[in-house]
């Protein structure tokens, strides 16, 4: 129902069952589960960027700021040695991140194109240096989260954050929810106008829509979900570090998103999995994995016009 395009449908029906079953074969191996978890978490982050860049036409190189903030906000607002409620703090973190995005967005959305890329980068770098130079937040070395939150809901606890398998399934569910959420948003009346804003802002203004407001709302939503992904990342190992906010993190996410097929949403998952998979393989193959990785990226960009999702789309369309 949500996944109208055929290729998308295929992908969802292949990827999620596979991801559900995969850990059963890897159960003895904590590493794979952890690795998959971090890929799934990062895919959520990439997806929020994919929405912003591919569906709203707002290219940002500062999205990692919200990813990092997700982790740091938890450290800032939660007491150090007391388990807090996971759901409550998820809510807090998303709301605070959205509020920060509101303020940042008012500044950033005055510009567009390359200027927007740069101003988002500037703000993210300021944030990066704030945490990197800070004494109370562990500076460059980062900080540990000593007490993981408690996940009970109305007194019932469904899963345990310390169990990697539980955490993996929870993250996978979150990823699925994110995909559905973004599909709903893009399929809504709001999504229709957002698409129009992206394609032709001048025309959309002339039709009587407040373009700025549409952009701002999208920016806040994407930032909140990026913060959510960052929050999950921080919880996975109980560790936050300013490098989460570095521009390289944004850059990597952007590469994954373009690789997957900008704006296709499910391409974000595809891009993240393929990128991380290649990275992992090459890294174990040779010390000079950067050479293989770089060549692979160049080859893919030369050959695929709209990312991996575009290739799959073509395949599926042709079979029809």
């Amino acid at each position: 129902m949500f996944f109208l395009k055929k290729a998308e449908n295929w992908f969802v029906w292949i990827f999620f069952p596979l991801a559900l079953l995969l850990p059963l074969f890897l159960e003895q191996n904590e590493f794979y589960v952890n690795k998959l978890t971090s890929v799934v978490i990062f895919a959520m982050f990439v997806m929020s960027l994919d929405y912003l860049v591919g569906r709203c036409g707002m290219i940002t190189l500062g999205h990692s700021m919200f990813y990092g903030l997700g982790g740091y906000l938890f450290i800032m607002i939660a007491p150090e040695y007391e388990a807090v409620n996971f759901w409550v703090y998820t809510f807090y973190i998303c709301v605070i991140a959205a509020l920060i995005a509101l303020v940042v967005g008012v500044i950033v959305l005055r510009t567009s194109g390359i200027y927007m890329i740069m101003i988002t980068l500037a703000i993210a770098q300021m944030c990066f240096y704030f945490f990197s130079d800070s004494v109370e937040f562990g500076g460059n070395d980062g900080l540990f989260i000593f007490t993981k939150p408690d996940t009970s809901l109305f007194g019932l606890s469904f899963f345990n954050l310390d169990d990697p398998m539980h955490f993996y399934y929870f993250c996978l569910l979150s990823l699925f929810n994110c995909l559905v959420f973004w599909k709903v948003v893009t399929g809504s009346r709001f999504g229709r106008i957002m698409e129009a804003v992206k394609d032709n802002p001048a025309r959309t203004t002339a039709l009587g829509y407040n373009v700025f407001l549409f952009r701002l709302i999208s920016y806040c939503m994407a930032s909140a979900l990026a913060a959510y992904a960052g929050y999950l990342f921080a919880l996975q190992y109980g560790y936050v570090n300013p490098s989460m906010m570095s521009w390289q993190t944004s850059g990597t996410a952007l590469v994954m998103s373009i690789l997957g097929g900008m704006g296709s949403l499910y391409g974000a998952i595809l891009g993240t999995v393929v990128y991380e998979g290649l990275h992992y393989t090459f890294e174990h193959l040779t010390q000079h994995w950067l050479l293989l990785m770089g060549s692979m990226i160049i080859a893919m960009v030369m050959l695929f016009k709209s990312g991996l999702a575009g290739v799959i789309d073509n395949l599926v369309e042709r079979r029809k």
């Binding site: 191996n29 904590e30 590493f31 794979y32 952890n34 690795k35 971090s38 240096y129 990197s132 130079d133 562990g138 500076g139 460059n140 070395d141 980062g142 540990f144 996975q236 190992y237 109980g238 560790y239 570090n241 490098s243 989460m244 993190t249 999995v273 393929v274 991380e276 998979g277 290649l278 992992y280 393989t281 890294e283 174990h284 010390q287 994995w289 950067l290 692979m296 080859a299 893919m300 050959l303 695929f304 991996l308 290739v311």
Partner: protein, 392 residues
């Protein structure tokens, strides 16, 4: 045609990435597994390389003492990225079932790694990262360090500066953990002896535009300058300091990393710089001479500090395995054995403190003709105070 090539590329990309995920995890029990997590790309790559080489040299030299057990190395590139550290550490621990995990270079990576590995099965040996916390508040029975704490090379320099009659100094370093800890250790002894720090300059990491800071130092006219920089930053700083005409007028002191592995690149600019460190290339003892000759023969380039630390890491493993006759399955015994060892390092023998940090001599060195020459001992058998460590 074009469609075909693109399809092929896609297919190969998918297959390669899938193959990566499903790599078999065959676990042979026989060899001793040594997981190495060092930076092999990026700014710290040279350090990671030297450390690995040193360790391999030691284990090859002592292969006969391993009681028939082979060593299997599993090397992982940390890229000096702290956010990847927990992932790689888990990989080595749970996926590869490493007995020893060696790493890292970067203190931030060390923190992320310790988060995962403290009080776990593998024995961690840190061959470089000097964050005080690793053998301070974050000390653990299974964590050893063969290098130094940030405190160690800098603390004696405060006294050394006073001995030379410097009363007013400017201190300077990159604004990150290790730099801050180095300056704090220097100040600790320097202020205790009545010295005065005119200004503490923290340069944003990894900025290397030092000219304005050096001009600032010139305007303050201190008796001496104490700095912490390493690698490329150290090269740039020493060159700038010389170029701005300050060397020879305001003496430059430093934590030893200022002139380690950087002297060729620094050239004449480094002449006369005084540093404190637990090692010097020209250290006159048989172990060092033998080590340097072997290293140069094996890898075709001169050994440096990072190679020594790697070498000692290898020694530590080899000696512990030897004493236990090849059976390292009992972690408690292994740790006990390691604690009791005296390592015959090229830097001179050292033992471990209660927090598993080396108790070692810090040498005072100066650069002469492009070499670090030892001019004295800054502190004999110096033990890190291990503040915050609850281990007995």
């Amino acid at each position: 045609m074009k469609k075909h090539t693109s399809l092929l590329t896609l297919a190969s990309a998918l297959i390669v990435s899938l193959a990566g995920w499903s790599a078999p995890t065959a676990a042979a029990d026989k060899p001793i597994k040594v997981g190495v997590m060092l930076p092999f790309s990026g700014v710290y790559a040279a350090l990671g390389d030297a450390g690995r080489n040193g360790m391999k040299l030691a284990l090859e030299q002592h292969a006969d003492k391993l009681h028939g057990r082979n060593i299997e190395f599993i090397e992982m590139d940390t890229e000096a990225r702290p956010d990847r550290a927990p992932e790689i550490a888990t990989s080595l621990m749970s996926q590869k079932k490493a007995d020893f995990i060696i790493g890292p270079v970067h203190s931030g990576v060390a923190m992320g790694m310790l988060k995962v590995l403290r009080n776990k099965k593998p024995v961690v040996i840190i061959p470089n990262a000097g964050a005080n916390a690793a053998t301070g508040p974050w000390c653990a029975p299974n964590v050893f360090r063969t290098s130094f704490s940030a405190w160690q090379p800098s603390y004696p320099m405060g006294k050394a500066a006073l001995d030379k009659g410097y009363k007013k100094v400017v201190t300077m370093s990159w604004n990150y953990g290790f730099g801050k800890e180095s300056l704090a250790a220097f100040e600790e002894s320097f202020k205790a002896g009545g010295g005065k720090v005119l200004k503490k300059i923290m340069v944003p990491f990894p900025k290397t535009e030092f000219q304005s800071y050096i001009t600032d130092i010139a305007s303050l006219k201190p008796d001496a300058v104490f700095v912490f920089f390493a690698g490329g930053g150290a090269v740039k700083f020493v060159k700038d300091y010389n170029a701005m005409g300050l060397s020879g007028k305001i003496p430059l002191l430093g934590s030893g990393f200022l002139t380690e592995g950087t002297l060729t690149a620094q050239g004449d600019a480094a002449e006369g710089v005084i540093t404190g460190l637990h090692y010097a290339d020209g250290l006159d003892n048989p172990a060092n001479h033998a080590f340097r000759a072997d290293y140069e023969k094996a890898f075709g380039k001169p050994a440096d500090l990072y190679a020594v630390q790697g070498y000692d890491t290898g020694l530590l493993i080899a000696m512990a395995v030897d004493q236990l006759k090849g059976n390292i399955s009992d972690q408690g015994k292994l740790i006990q054995t390691m604690e009791s060892l005296t390592i015959p390092s090229p830097r001179g023998d050292f033992t471990f403190s209660r927090a598993h940090n080396p108790i070692q001599t810090i040498y005072l060195r100066t650069v002469e003709n492009g070499e670090n020459r030892v001019i004295g001992v800054a502190a004999e058998a110096l033990e890190d105070p291990a503040r915050g460590c609850k281990m007995k």
